[in-house]
Symmetry: C2
Subunit: 497 residues, 2 copies
């Protein structure tokens, strides 16, 4: 049905693009068996960045990409080395996987698009519960899906860009933009070294980039394509309460000394209520007011409460309608209590009074929260809550790390082009979504390259990235390439950058 | 100085006992080098009950005791086997260390005293920070102390009983009571199997026991001898809150679902305030009122706030006077928060929303708290606190284990005899102390044998049991034996049982 929709939509495309789309889309369909075969070769390399012993496999996959890029005529293909991996590592000399840079086209009259993807993957073992070998692509003809680790996260989408170039080449349609690839091999392990590389290449390899497109997220659900224009940030804190010189026996000291755990519970309990409301003065006031225009963006998004319940494996939502759920996931801050370091955390019973405990919590940030101001509000709140106790212990609250939120204008040239492309391929307008989580590299690209970034997902919300039986539907794979191809043309045509 | 005091005191002892004490005490002094030598042989066996690989050493120490008992003329010496150690163990067939039973005397006209001690010890390694080899007795002539693992806990005090018998024998003074020894080898690992043995031997080996004396605790401080007449009990609880089907990502679900951690913090935070006050309705009401008579027991105890501060390594006491500190350690309940199982407990940052968390806390119990009633109050309180949240999660509170408090009458025949003995040896009245912790076997002896129990400590509060550089002062060793000896005579003389 989607394929029929796509054919019908092309009819409405402006005169000059229609024949190009016909040729490129036709070639994509024609090359489908080859694209699937190449994906099979790529996912067969167990490029698990989190497993030191598999580091040679990650490097092997980088070389596989280099060969593919060279075969397709990409130029200036480089493996950027990022040096040794910082501790904690077992092998002190462990080299970080290289970043694969390459270009296709270098025409000063064309716009330049940087596409980001990652070739490393999450760990996977058949014994985790996979139906088939995780590092062997299994094509399920009945369900029309491809199952393998990396199929959707992110080897499949990464290869889509290469396939788009191949389809242009073989159909004789000129690529309407200059393309730069930035494929990293450490995304599943914190993108170590990538931000430094971007900073270093801003005025070198990445000079002249007009827009960045990242294909490394998913549709919200399983039915409707989306474009993603926002991510929440994350400020992670640690509150430390310390008193006694060492852990004490609760028989001897219980009831006599002020216990750091009791103080920590009091402080952490003052941060958020059981309805999810953040209780720190001044935090909610920093949140950008909801405009009517923004509110409307949430009205027709294809999502319902059952989707949330099925994802959480429970019926524990605060909200009973999709709009409230999505707004609280995307555009409102949240505060989560993650755990305590230094207290008893094992099974069974231990009668310890922990001497020094670190409570861990984080706040998901949104526009227009200022990170520095937030840190001060949090620290002041905790200090005040602790002071109120009149405790003889010591308490301090620190930021462990922060990553800024990201929100783009979903009406800019890049998004508009991608929306048109989606409509052409899928026959429907995409939902404009945000995500509750963070992809720090998005902010890095935007801030360092001073350009717009768009997230253009290929796979669906049920693809099982990071889980067992990860898959990519063949229709998403094929339509993803077509959407990318059409996006390049619409973006090239756009008068704006 | 103590020795001069002791000599002077003997002058005031009633006529018939004085010559006996002179002889026995003289023999104890004479045999000092031999007693130290024997202690050296005993502590050289690394009888660490918590280390499976050292189990043969624990058994070896039991056999060492058997030889000593036989050498001294104890009769009916038995090694009671307790079967295999229950899981968790590496060696599924690991045998529990035997309990060493023996008798000295079997005269129906004499009272029968059961003395308890343990021959196993805590782990110790030179690299932990010991000044000398932990399993080699080091006699510090300057400080007049003996350093070794087990010197004070509990090999030294255990051997005191054997030495007392030897001193009587060699000085030609008849032992005034029948003695039964019960020496276990599993005390440092939960006394597994001992309660069962006591139950089994109540009407057999232990038939006719009039009183039990346990020498396995310490003076409150370093200057004044004490007799211990009470221990707090301990009821250990676990509150479990569960919601999602699995741990969730706080980016995606933060602010949208009710987090089990937030609910657990709310519930646990409602249990106790930062001043140590238990907030569970009905709990404080169960505590026996403080009578004027009891209050006076706390008036002259040799203890000050510095002792507490030095033990806790901090100045974090709720109270600024010894009486309040001791009453809150000994005669009031306390509630401690120990930790959380199932939450993030590592270093650094993890953005998890834990799906199922178990909060651990315990209440130290005192007279007249009823354990069953307490369990119900705790469970009801937690249920109510959780219900108030209106959370969609599930919450339940369970007892993990309980152990009853123990309080004896410090004016009974056994305590009165030991107080007289202390006065004779040390020249001062002992302090009557309780302890904040629990020694469950005390309650087992009292309840199963239906007799009185007394704790008669030998060592000082700074002996470092369970710590590095464990020691026993030579004066405590020698005066401990003399006190035990005198106690036997005063107890034998007492018209009561």
């Amino acid at each position: 049905m989607l394929s029929r929709l796509a054919k019908r939509s092309i009819m409405s495309v402006s005169g000059s693009l229609k024949p190009k789309f016909d040729k490129v889309f036709g070639k994509v369909d024609e090359l489908k068996p080859q694209f699937i075969e190449t994906l099979g070769k790529a996912v067969a390399i167990p490029a698990v960045s989190g497993d030191e012993s598999l580091r040679p496999m990650v490097v092997k996959k980088a070389h596989f990409l280099v060969e593919e890029l060279q075969r397709l005529g990409f130029s200036d293909v480089q493996l950027k080395q990022l040096g040794t991996q910082p501790p904690p590592v077992e092998d002190q000399k462990l080299q970080l996987p290289p970043v694969v840079l390459s270009r296709y086209g270098n025409d000063p009259n064309k716009k330049t698009l940087l596409v980001y993807g990652h070739y490393d993957v999450q760990p996977a073992q058949l014994s985790d519960g996979w139906e088939t070998e995780p590092f062997k692509l299994y094509v399920d003809e009945d369900k029309q899906l491809m199952r393998a680790r990396g199929s959707t996260d992110d080897t499949g989408p990464l290869l889509c860009w290469l396939n788009v170039v191949q389809a242009h080449k073989e159909s004789g349609v000129e690529l309407p933009v200059n393309l730069i690839t930035c494929f990293e091999g450490m995304e599943e392990s914190g993108s170590i070294g990538l931000e430094g590389l971007i900073a270093e290449e801003t005025d070198k390899y990445f000079k002249g980039v007009d827009a960045v497109c990242i294909s490394d997220n998913y549709w919200l659900g399983t039915r409707k394509p989306v474009l993603t224009y926002g991510l929440r940030g994350c400020n992670y804190y640690q509150t430390t309460v310390e008193g006694p010189g060492a852990d004490l026996h609760s028989g001897i000291f219980g009831g006599v000394i002020a216990e750091p755990m009791v103080d920590l519970f009091q402080v952490m309990n003052s941060l958020v209520d059981a309805k999810g409301k953040i209780l720190i003065d001044g935090v909610n006031e920093m949140v950008a007011p909801l405009t009517e225009k923004e509110s409307k963006l949430y009205d027709n998004i294809d999502f319902d409460v059952d989707d949330l319940n099925s994802a959480s494996g429970s019926k524990t939502s605060f909200y009973d309608n999709p709009k409230d759920i999505l707004m609280h996931r995307w555009r409102y801050p949240s505060l989560s209590l993650h755990g305590i370091e230094g207290a008893f955390s094992g099974q069974g019973a231990k009668t310890v009074i922990p001497a020094k405990v670190h409570g861990k919590f984080s706040i998901r940030t949104v526009p227009d929260m200022d990170s520095d101001k937030l840190n001060k509000l949090v620290s002041d709140h905790c200090d005040k809550a602790f002071k109120k106790l009149g405790s003889p212990n010591k308490c301090k609250t620190e930021l462990i790390h922060d990553g800024n939120y990201w929100v783009s204008d979903p009406h800019n040239a890049s998004f508009t082009a991608a929306a048109k492309a989606t409509k052409v391929v899928y026959g429907v307008d995409p939902d404009f979504t945000r995500e509750g989580g963070s992809i720090p590299i998005t902010v890095s690209f935007q801030e360092l390259l001073k350009t717009t970034v768009m997230l253009l997902p290929v796979g669906r919300g049920d693809d099982g990235a990071h889980s067992i039986n990860e898959k990519l539907d063949i229709s998403n794979f094929i339509n993803g390439m077509k959407t990318m191809a059409a996006y390049l043309h619409f973006y090239a045509e756009s008068p704006e950058k």
